[in-house]
């Protein structure tokens, strides 16, 4: 069995990455709504994913309120692919 990426093997971070995997970009409000996380906790987890290079965060100030927009990077996509491959190894033979 392959080892699971500890950064992704957490409920909230995995939920964030799964959302970003299927969209081009998503803003902070959308991620908060879908993950039902607190703003503080979500910010911390986004910061961890950003530091790992899995996602990028940008602030869009063009509207009335500034929006934090998150996007998955190529490294993040690769990490998710490896994570799913590792997960599969846990289910082979079942």
């Amino acid at each position: 069995m392959q080892e699971l990426d500890p950064l992704l093997h957490s409920q909230l971070r995995l939920a964030i990455m799964s959302i970003l995997l299927s969209v081009e970009e998503a803003d902070f409000v959308y991620l908060k709504e879908k993950t039902e996380a607190t703003a503080g906790n979500l910010s911390v987890q986004l910061e961890k994913l950003t530091s790992a290079g899995y996602i990028t965060k940008e602030t869009d100030g063009s509207g009335a309120k500034p929006r934090t927009i998150c996007q998955m990077t190529d490294a993040g996509r690769e990490a998710m692919q490896n994570y799913v491959e590792a997960l599969k190894s846990y289910f082979t033979g079942l």
Partner: protein
């Protein structure tokens, strides 16, 4: 949700659940732009036909020029209210669809500029009619193909066949617009924009009701 360790089974379920949810969310309001432009073009075509019949003047064709003005304002308002109400994420599909319609709109606008530039050749405006029949249908087909919606693709194909009928008449009978084409234009808009708009909104509503 919190920062907590989960089992391998829970991980798979979570990934699947989030992807499904995002897919449903991104489908919300997919048909709204089709409805805005479809109803507007249908209404304008019928208005041109009705006014030309009632007043017996040919100048009513200029009513078509109101379509881009009213359309872009209405589309902007709808897009803004949708963003405010649902906060749907931007997907690769929505971005590709946006680029397809941008390209088609560009052709339309560029041709209109061309017609204005060659003002003394009014027969050139017939081309606008031709583009109006073809471009929305092509856009609808591409949208259906990107979203993998068979019925939307078929609507696009049917709209294009109406365009072919017009193209054939133009090639055989010369470059002049007859009033009956306004009715055909309205019919084409219902097939290539209004029906797909309702199909997309119905499917999104059904998916989100589950």
């Amino acid at each position: 949700m919190e920062e907590k360790k989960i089992s391998e089974k829970e991980s798979l379920e979570l990934i699947s659940q989030m992807i499904q949810q995002t897919k449903k969310d991104s489908a919300i309001g997919n048909g709204n732009m089709f409805l805005v432009w479809g109803y507007l073009c249908t209404f304008m075509s019928l208005a041109v036909f009705a006014m030309s019949q009632i007043r017996q003047e040919s100048g009513w064709g200029w009513l078509y020029m109101a379509i881009p003005v009213v359309g872009f304002i209405a589309a902007g308002i709808v897009a803004r209210s949708m963003k405010k109400k649902y906060n749907t994420p931007s997907t690769y599909a929505s971005s590709s669809i946006g680029k397809v319609w941008f390209c088609l709109s560009f052709v339309f606008v560029f041709y209109a500029v061309y017609c204005f530039a060659y003002w003394n050749e009014p027969q050139g405006w017939t081309g606008m009619f031709l583009l109006g029949l073809f471009l929305p249908s092509i856009g609808t087909y591409c949208t259906g193909a990107i979203l993998n919606e068979d019925w939307v693709q078929w609507c696009g194909i049917m709209g294009t066949t109406i365009g072919c009928k017009f193209l054939h008449e133009v090639c055989c009978d010369g470059m002049h617009i007859e009033l009956k084409w306004c009715i055909l234009m309205a019919f084409a808009m219902i097939i290539s924009l209004v029906i797909p708009g309702h199909i997309l909104n119905y499917k999104a509503k059904k998916a989100n009701a589950k």
